[in-house]
């Protein structure tokens, strides 16, 4: 009992009272509600198409056992058969014609048994349908979607970091007339979310010839007000003396920005990079409008298109959904502290 004490000990050393129990019960329920659905998705993504159509569904991925039969090329499904004498046996089905099934014991391949199909039950075993994943690139142009998503995310993030940090550098390290006005103008764009300028932005992008081009998704959202704000606040804390010293040494303004201010602003750049990756990887409405050709789809668009199909192939859809949430999950697992701190300090997501 004593060794279990650590479980019910609270941080200040007193033992648990009912409010603590209630708190942990609430947290446990939260764990179930928040992670349960995701876990269910992952488990389901390893089920075969047949298993996915079962109702009620089994918790773990099960599939019919199959076995190699001498003289047969393919693996044969295994059934539990009720024989005429009333005994049951596990046999491999060679073929089925109408209501008659021909089965055989793999150990004695010459000994056929013919039974009615209602006298046999499939034998199930734990089986991960990894083909849902491995077949993706063949069945759907998964590679293309992945590439489109990665391209947009990486290029847009680099451009966002570059453009926003240049603007933040100007706004934090120079005194010039119009500085406040420009800063407010940039912050003012917070009030203009993409949903509001859908139609005119569509015109601008099509006039620039960027419809159905990944660049049409990348450019419009580069100049994030959040990024400029975040970086400016951070750069304000970099002492001006450093810049003055560099100017004494005849460094150009670009060198000061590139060699001194950018490296020092690395923590803020990291936070913005995480945000940007998240925004771009998850982006939906704007890509939906700009990209209408299948070969230009991002993962999010492809997922949406598949789920809207008349016959949804859930096994591939689920596997693709898991792959789509994987990068974000990995990033979160390693950088949770930075992400939550960044969000708490900036008040944005």
């Amino acid at each position: 009992m004593k060794s279990l004490n650590f479980l019910i000990r609270t941080r200040n050393g007193r033992s648990m009272d009912w409010t603590d129990w209630l708190s942990y019960a609430y947290l446990a329920m939260g764990l179930f509600l928040m992670f349960g659905p995701v876990l269910w998705l992952v488990l389901s993504s390893f089920k075969t198409e047949a298993a996915l159509n079962e109702f009620p569904p089994s918790l773990l991925p099960y599939g019919q056992k199959s076995i190699a039969v001498p003289g047969e090329e393919k693996m044969k499904p295994v059934f539990r058969v009720t024989l005429p004498d009333g005994s049951t046996k596990e046999l491999a089905e060679l073929r089925r014609i109408g209501l008659t099934s021909t089965l055989v014991d793999p150990a004695r391949p010459d000994d056929y048994v013919r039974v009615n199909v209602k006298d046999r039950e499939p034998v199930r075993e734990f089986k991960m349908a990894t083909e849902n994943y491995t077949d993706l690139s063949g069945k759907v142009s998964f590679g293309t979607y992945l590439w489109n998503s990665v391209f947009i995310t990486v290029i847009a993030t680099i451009l966002t970091l570059l453009f926003n940090s240049m603007a933040a550098f100007a706004l934090s390290k120079y005194k010039f007339s119009g500085r406040t006005a420009v800063f407010l103008l940039i912050l003012g764009t917070l009030m203009v979310p993409p949903a509001i300028v859908l139609v005119p932005n569509f015109l601008v992008v099509s006039e620039l010839g960027m419809l159905n081009s990944l660049w049409g998704v990348i450019w419009p959202a580069i100049a994030t007000p959040t990024g400029v704000f975040l970086l400016r606040q951070y750069m304000l804390t970099i002492p001006d003396e450093l810049l003055e010293a560099a100017r004494m040494d005849h460094a150009s303004e670009w060198q000061i920005y590139w060699r001194i201010v950018l490296p020092l602003a690395a923590p803020a750049l990291a936070v913005l990079a995480i945000f940007s990756v998240m925004w771009r990887w998850n982006d939906f409405l704007w890509p939906l409008i700009v990209l209408s050709k299948n070969e230009k789809f991002t993962l999010q668009l492809a997922l949406n298109a598949f789920q809207g199909d008349l016959v949804t192939q859930w096994n591939y859809l689920l596997a693709m959904t898991v792959i789509t949430l994987l990068p974000i999950t990995i990033v979160f697992a390693f950088l949770q502290k930075y992400i939550t701190q960044g969000i708490a300090s900036a008040g944005v997501k």
Partner: protein
């Protein structure tokens, strides 16, 4: 060495060019679209129609009953958005507050637990919608649970009432972690000696909550409330993927109306879509100004602490 007066402008140029091209020019064009008609995308081919787009949208027998309106889906979407905003925001802030209060207690593994609630925030709206669609579909997990408990399976996303419930539930599920995080930061900023003093005075935990925690958290709560409202009126992605706005137009929100009017309907009424956007923009500007006011009050309160 003296720096050139133009230098900051060189650094600002790329960012400002993008803003100009993809934000300010579109705002101007949007206003132009809103006052012109026809189905042409090119501004020069669009005849001026004055306020006709607005009057079409606002032409209503009774504003409380969308079916009497000329653009019934528009009004349906406005009512849906209002209803959604009220329920989603109030319940989400309530649950975020409870969660933040629990996480602020002396619990083991706080980092892990806050991560649990925050994780869905990072998922894309499409993924969120698909996760739940898979659970809510006819042969899904929830119906399996219903059947095992002896009740009939329900078509969760095909009945207007249930569809609306699940749309609200799923978006709370997806976003509450973000607001929990902000409220938790607010809670941790409350000085601990206040609680020690309350304990010395033998104040009950409930009294500490209502007399210390909630009043001091109020500025954060207001900011969170308005922030959530701003997000709620713009909601599109997860609802669109989960229900497609249906059944009928039971879960169609304003942004989806704009999207469908401008980009999905066979006859693309850009003017109507732009007029709708303009009205949405007005609501957002009002909410943002409210938020700025509140965060200013928040900052002042911070300094007074």
């Amino acid at each position: 060495m003296k720096t050139n007066a133009g230098t900051p402008w060189y650094f600002l140029a790329p960012n400002m060019a993008v803003i100009l091209l993809f934000t300010f020019v579109p705002i101007a064009i949007n206003v132009y679209y809103a006052f012109t008609g026809g189905v042409n995308l090119y501004p020069s081919q669009r005849p001026s129609v004055g306020v006709e787009n607005f009057s079409t949208l606002l032409d209503c027998g009774s504003y409380l009953d969308p079916s009497t309106c000329r653009k019934d889906v528009f009004w349906q979407s406005i009512w849906n958005t209002a209803k959604y905003a009220v329920f989603q925001v109030s319940l989400m802030v309530l649950f975020s507050l409870i969660t933040a209060l629990v996480l602020n207690r002396k619990i083991v593994g706080r980092g892990f637990w806050s991560g649990v609630f925050f994780y869905p925030v990072l998922l894309s709206p499409v993924v969120v919608a698909l996760i739940w669609k898979w659970i809510l579909q006819r042969d899904g997990l929830l119906n399996a649970a219903m059947v095992s408990m002896g009740s009939q399976p329900v078509l969760w996303l095909a009945e207007p009432g249930w569809a609306f419930f699940w749309v609200t539930f799923v978006s709370i599920w997806a976003h509450m972690g973000f607001y929990t995080l902000i409220l938790l930061a607010g809670l941790q900023a409350i000085p601990g000696d206040l609680y020690e003093a309350a304990q010395l005075d033998k104040a009950s935990p409930w009294r500490s909550l209502t007399r210390i925690t909630l009043p001091l958290l109020l500025p954060n709560l207001m900011v969170v409330l308005v922030l959530a409202l701003i997000k709620a009126v713009q909601t599109f992605d997860e609802v669109f993927v989960l229900t497609g706005g249906g059944p009928g137009s039971a879960t169609t929100l304003v942004v989806q109306f704009i999207y469908q009017t401008g980009f999905v309907e066979p006859v693309r009424l850009y003017g109507i879509a732009a007029a709708g956007s303009l009205m949405l923009a007005l609501a957002l500007v009002a909410l943002t100004l409210l938020q700025l006011r509140l965060s200013k009050a928040d900052e002042l309160g911070e300094r007074a602490k």
